[in-house]
């Protein structure tokens, strides 16, 4: 129960960061908070449910890999935007058109 409360609160903190921050890097950090706490919650719940440790580990590893890929692409977009147009905030991206 402690892990559930802790992970849920950290997930809420990550959501709060995503909703309130304006810098794209900070928003990505908030997404990392949400993904990390969700991954811990997945491992905790599966452990309590008596799932096989190898299955839990492989699913959590998949989440970890997807989160790492998301962070890499997101940060590449931030760097590319900053180098092209000196923009790093979400409001400034409203002017960007494809």
């Amino acid at each position: 129960m402690t892990a559930l409360v802790l992970c849920s609160l950290v997930f809420g903190v990550g959501l709060y960061v995503v909703l309130t921050r304006r810098e794209i890097i900070a928003i990505l950090a908030g997404v990392e908070l949400m993904l990390g706490s969700a991954n811990i919650l997945l491992v905790a719940l599966a452990s309590f449910a008596g799932a096989d440790g190898g299955v839990i580990g492989s699913v959590a590893l998949a989440v970890l890999v997807v989160a790492a890929a998301e962070a890499a692409v997101g940060l590449a977009l931030v760097v590319s935007l900053a180098r092209r147009s000196k923009r790093s905030r979400v409001e400034e991206l409203l002017e960007v058109k494809g």
Partner: protein
């Protein structure tokens, strides 16, 4: 048992403290350090739940890899914007209510799934490797393809800016 509780408490403190720093600080580098603290706490939690391989992967991939990417991005943005980036927040009660509401919903919906204190299942790297290279080989290969696609995407995104 006392050591186990201490390990859980330490990991939980690292997670909560790091998340609080990410949410509250105005300095971008402090935010990255807070994120690193949170990720170390996540690795500690993996250890607590008997997933030593996941904890090692977390430290290598996130604390050693993604965090360096964050620092690199902060350095590039800092250089481009010509000044030390200060984080701005629209701290408002609505966002806090939404975040607390989502947390409460998660707790209420999952509270029956959690029982006891310490789960019994634990696994080492061999069990995970057996799963990945056995029944989940296709998923494992797809994950590798996803990472390759992400790598190529990063090169295309950053390389396109380099050519201009």
């Amino acid at each position: 048992m006392t050591l186990t509780i201490l390990a859980f408490a330490l990991s939980g403190l690292l997670m909560a403290g790091g998340a609080a720093v990410v949410a509250l600080t105005r300095d971008l580098m402090r935010m990255v350090i807070g994120l690193g603290t949170f990720l170390l706490g996540v690795a500690g939690m993996f250890l607590f739940y008997g997933q030593a391989f996941l904890a090692t992967a977390q430290v290598f991939v996130y604390v050693g890899g993604v965090l360096v990417l964050f620092v690199f991005a902060v350095m590039v943005v800092h250089r481009s914007s010509g000044g030390r980036p200060v984080l701005e927040s629209r701290h408002d009660i609505g966002a806090a209510v939404i975040a607390l509401g989502v947390s409460g919903m998660v707790i209420l919906s999952l509270q029956d799934s959690v029982g006891g204190w310490l789960p019994a299942s634990a696994s080492g790297g061999a069990a995970i490797a057996t799963e990945l290279l056995g029944g989940h080989l296709v998923v494992f290969e797809l994950l590798g393809a996803l990472l390759l696609a992400a790598l190529v995407a990063v090169l295309v995104i950053v390389g396109a800016g380099e050519r201009r």
